[in-house]
């Protein structure tokens, strides 16, 4: 089994498209930080203008943690697309390159191949999220130093103490990895339908955008629909930055995302097992 997983990983990391996500993050994050080095203080002042009339601010809130969180918030809208570039190609890519029939005639069962592809996709997801973490946090702390972190939350402003931020970021990235794994499983599901990777990538991303929009429409019908959309739970990583961590809420979101993960993969597995390979 490990050998199949290893081959899947080799296949994934030998493809050029795998590195589009890494390249984009590696390019975008330094660019964002370069821009922030000019306007970062103005951003903090804008967020705290009302407070600064009455309060003396000692120390700075513009630091590596603040910019890393900002990057995490802004880039995470686009990360699903980067995930789908690879996940959408998992099965369809085999069909495109004509290797589907070859891998399925090997002694390894379809179940094992499916499991290896799933593990390979999850490893890719976590490697991309880890890369985002290292680049954004590492570079952020290197360029802007550390300190307490100012956050704009739904409930207002929050300042998180510096000594808690390491584990909060680790938790946030771990949760983000899990949420993106569900996106990958959706991409894999779409990938089993067709023989070209473009369809699964665009189709899955369209579903994500549709669910995001539906989940945010302020009408009662759509509000009732919200619990049944997986995109409602993909921002679970934000809960790592709540002033008081609600462990029960996080575990619930992890479990619900797990249900979607199993659901998408079960459907993908069913199609993959019954698929008549003609190419």
């Amino acid at each position: 089994m490990l050998t199949i997983v290893r081959y899947e990983l080799i296949k994934t990391y030998r493809k050029l498209r795998t590195y589009i996500g890494f390249g984009l993050i590696g390019l975008l994050v330094p660019l964002i930080y370069w821009g922030m080095s000019f306007a970062g203080d103005d951003m903090i002042n804008g967020m705290t203008r009302g407070l600064q009339q009455n309060f003396l601010f000692v120390g700075t809130l513009f630091n590596g943690w603040f910019v890393s969180n900002l990057v995490l918030n802004s880039l995470f809208v686009h990360v699903p697309f980067l995930i789908l570039l690879v996940a959408g190609d998992v099965f369809a890519g085999e069909a495109t390159s004509g290797t589907y029939r070859m891998i399925l005639t090997r002694p390894a069962s379809r179940n094992r191949i499916f499991l290896a592809k799933t593990l390979g996709s999850v490893v890719y997801v976590y490697s991309l999220v880890l890369f985002l973490a290292v680049v954004s946090v590492g570079l952020g702390l290197l360029l802007f130093g550390h300190g307490d972190m100012l956050m704009l939350q739904e409930s207002g402003l929050a300042i998180l103490p510096a000594d808690e931020l390491w584990w909060r970021f680790v938790l946030a990235y771990a949760l983000a990895g899990w949420a993106m794994s569900i996106v990958a499983s959706l991409g894999m599901l779409f990938s089993t339908f067709v023989e070209n990777a473009i369809g699964p990538i665009v189709g899955s991303f369209a579903i994500i955008i549709l669910f995001f929009i539906l989940g945010n429409l302020p009408f009662e019908f759509f509000e009732n629909l919200r619990p049944y959309l997986f995109t409602t739970y993909t921002d679970v990583w934000r809960k790592a930055f709540d002033m008081e961590i609600q462990a029960a809420g996080i575990l619930e979101d992890i479990a619900i995302l797990g249900v979607f993960f199993v659901l998408f993969l079960s459907a993908a597995w069913t199609i993959f097992r019954r698929k008549d390979i003609l190419s």
């Binding site: 407070l51 009455n54 309060f55 601010f57 000692v58």
Partner: protein, 238 residues
């Protein structure tokens, strides 16, 4: 005859003491607003410099902040420097309160009766800014005339907001009254409306914020070099 003299003294002494007390109290009560503020200022002027550790808790709507710690340095006449290992936000007018904040040329003053605060009778001194460029436009100081210290300050820190600071004191080195704790209640800056936005209902008053400052580890009149205040962003708090 000596007995009579002794008896007379015994009667006269308490009367004399009572007369002195009444005359002192009367002098306190009849002090002009400027004299009253001057006496409070003299009390504060006895402290040439000090450093103190401050811990602050902020309870404010739409704002979550952990307990913050800072060290404040003060040197006469108005040098203030605040340091913190992390980030700290401290109420501008309360954290380094001094009567010299109220320049007698910038404020009209009037005594507006008395009020008892925590069992201590205080004289109420009202200050009104003479120019609209002064940040604190209106303030009411509740002065304990026995110790010449301010026990409460009501103020308008601007933008139509109001704030009330309650001071409790500790006697440092057995001779200097300095704040031990300041409790500040103010209209929450996070609940201010944007210009042009109407309040939802007439009853929905702005939420209150409560800030508590605790002062510990005073070091008074030991000398603080001017270099400590160089490049201080907190600067002279006026």
């Amino acid at each position: 005859m000596p007995f009579l003299l002794l008896t007379t003294h015994r009667l006269l002494l308490p009367l004399l003491a009572a007369a002195i007390c009444i005359s002192t109290a009367s002098a306190q009560d009849t002090a002009s607003p400027a004299q009253l503020l001057e006496r409070v200022q003299q009390q504060y002027d006895r402290v040439r410099d000090y450093q103190v550790d401050i811990s602050a808790t902020v309870d404010m709507e739409r704002m979550q902040v952990p307990e913050m710690n800072a060290r404040l340095y003060f040197k006469q006449p108005d040098k203030v420097h605040i340091e913190s290992d992390g980030f700290a936000m401290l109420p501008r007018d309360a954290v380094s309160f001094r009567p010299s904040m109220f320049d007698t040329e910038q404020y009209d003053m009037v005594i507006q009766g008395a009020e008892t605060i925590r069992g201590i009778r205080c004289t109420k001194l009202k200050l009104l800014a003479t120019s609209d460029t002064v940040r604190l436009q209106r303030a009411m100081l509740y002065i304990d005339t026995k110790r010449d210290i301010v026990l409460r300050m009501d103020a308008d820190p601007g933008a139509g907001a109001s704030a009330m600071a309650d001071f409790t004191y500790t006697k440092v080195n057995g001779m200097y009254w300095l704040p031990k704790a300041i409790t500040l209640e103010m209209d929450s800056p996070m609940s201010f409306r944007r210009p042009g936005v109407k309040r939802k209902s007439k009853d929905s008053a702005p939420a209150k914020a409560k800030i508590t400052l605790s002062y510990t580890h005073y070091v008074v009149n030991k000398g603080i070099p001017d270099s400590r205040f160089k490049n201080s962003k907190t600067g002279a708090a006026k």
